[in-house]
Symmetry: D2
Subunit: 157 residues, 4 copies
């Protein structure tokens, strides 16, 4: 199911401390789910992470759109890595919770999730993620997520 490297969009990154982008890329590469579905990081910055996902049978629901659960998974991941960019190299994060509202059916060829940190507290970071579906050159907002991320070491369980 994985897209080839050649098909993957290039990644933009700026303003991050040394080693942070490489650390995020390495962590992302260990996420079996993101690899299996062919997701890629397209942008990283301080408190920001964008991911892109091509449509395939393996991420669809019964009407041939992106499955809402995959929309949530991509957005959850974008928010988590947006948070990780703000923490010292070597940090780990855990999702405490997320909430996603669906704005329209995710019918299109690519899905784009843009995560941004709203507030970086001492142990919890709050993010918002906007998800867009791309179809015929148009970009439509299709979901909105709000999420709590915990710095590991202050683990939830």
């Amino acid at each position: 199911m994985a897209a080839s490297k050649a098909e993957r969009p290039a990644m933009a990154e700026e303003g991050l401390p040394a080693g942070k982008a490489a650390e995020v890329r390495a962590s992302f590469a260990r996420q079996g789910l993101m690899c299996a579905i062919g997701a890629a990081i397209t942008e990283l910055g301080p408190g920001r992470c964008a991911l892109e996902l091509p449509f395939s049978e393996g991420v669809s629901q019964q009407h041939g759109f992106f499955h809402g659960g995959i929309v949530g998974a991509l957005a959850d991941t974008a928010g988590g890595y947006a948070a990780l960019t703000l923490l010292p190299v070597g940090s780990e994060v855990l999702t405490l919770e997320y909430k996603i509202n669906f704005l329209r059916p995710a019918a299109g060829r690519r899905l784009l999730a843009e995560g941004a940190v709203l507030r970086a507290g001492r142990s919890v970071l709050v993010t918002r993620v906007d998800v867009f579906v791309l179809e015929e050159g148009q970009r439509h907002a299709c979901a909105a997520l709000q999420q709590s991320i915990m710095r590991a070491g202050a683990a939830p369980g």
Copy 2:
């Protein structure tokens, strides 16, 4: 990534109107995501749906646990079909939103999502889903979801 039929658990169903279980099974089989990851329906009843998912590389996050986004996807799907059981044969449903709290890392060999309808309104149904991870014969609650499902025809967009 799909589990063979022989490995899938048998499905229990009771109390449903004629044709409803077959309709839910057919809809589930058209969900490319659920097929790709090897999820199966293990229980259906009026306002109830349980799903099971074996662990595999393709549903993992960076520490080798079930990816939180997949936990959300499985729970979202269980809640949606729990809602569908209460609607007339031929109905469609859409997820308006869901919110998931993670209770502990989903570290184990199987994931079980049990969805139940809290309230079936005229156009919106509210569900709760409990997710458990199974490891060495033990079952641990690992996530809790609360969700709004809309009867299609009264579509969100």
Copy 3:
């Protein structure tokens, strides 16, 4: 507990259809809770509503900050009226659900909730509301809400 009219901030409104601002004001005035705590509408526009609330003993929690539940109530109300501005005069709305993340303690003299519609679907509108606390001329983001609003007539129960 109500603030006198003289203390209330003036309301800005523009771009709304005839009668809409008056309708929103009349509905708001019938909300016993908003009157009891002294909340006021400070801005109305197409898909937008801002509310302001002065601190008082009656809206406090045990540390003397704004109670989180009141922060949620003010944000819920701002989101609901933001949605109502987009519907024909005579429409009614119901909150289906909301989710609020607290970004910092709401310690200050005034609370400001700014609601905006993210997506206006046929029967459901999705909003986001940002809440700020004002203290010594500074404005700090203290909460973020995401909400589903249903047009009445398509009622949830």
Copy 4:
């Protein structure tokens, strides 16, 4: 707006460590909001807290029902104190976030919120709260909340 002590329901409590019930009551009494609206604790136990609120003009919305924001505030408070019962005497808690689904209009004379801890982690506790409205001897589920509570000292900001 406060109900007199004579009108308040008696509180049931059992299974709590020495001093815990008194501590919760003292904290609740310092919540200006809960006092102003006349809310009372009706039950406390390990991981459980129930609150009751009589209807009054000051907690109403534009149709004369309980305001959804007050339903959320009461549920938020019940969940927070349910969490506090599980922590050592002297602990403080903060709400990180909550999400509430409305199941039917809260039309009735009394509101009852029953909070229970789903999972008590090291720094975060997850709760669920069920809210009922009482009318003419009948009790109807009217809202469902899911919430994250943080032990203070591990503060969100």
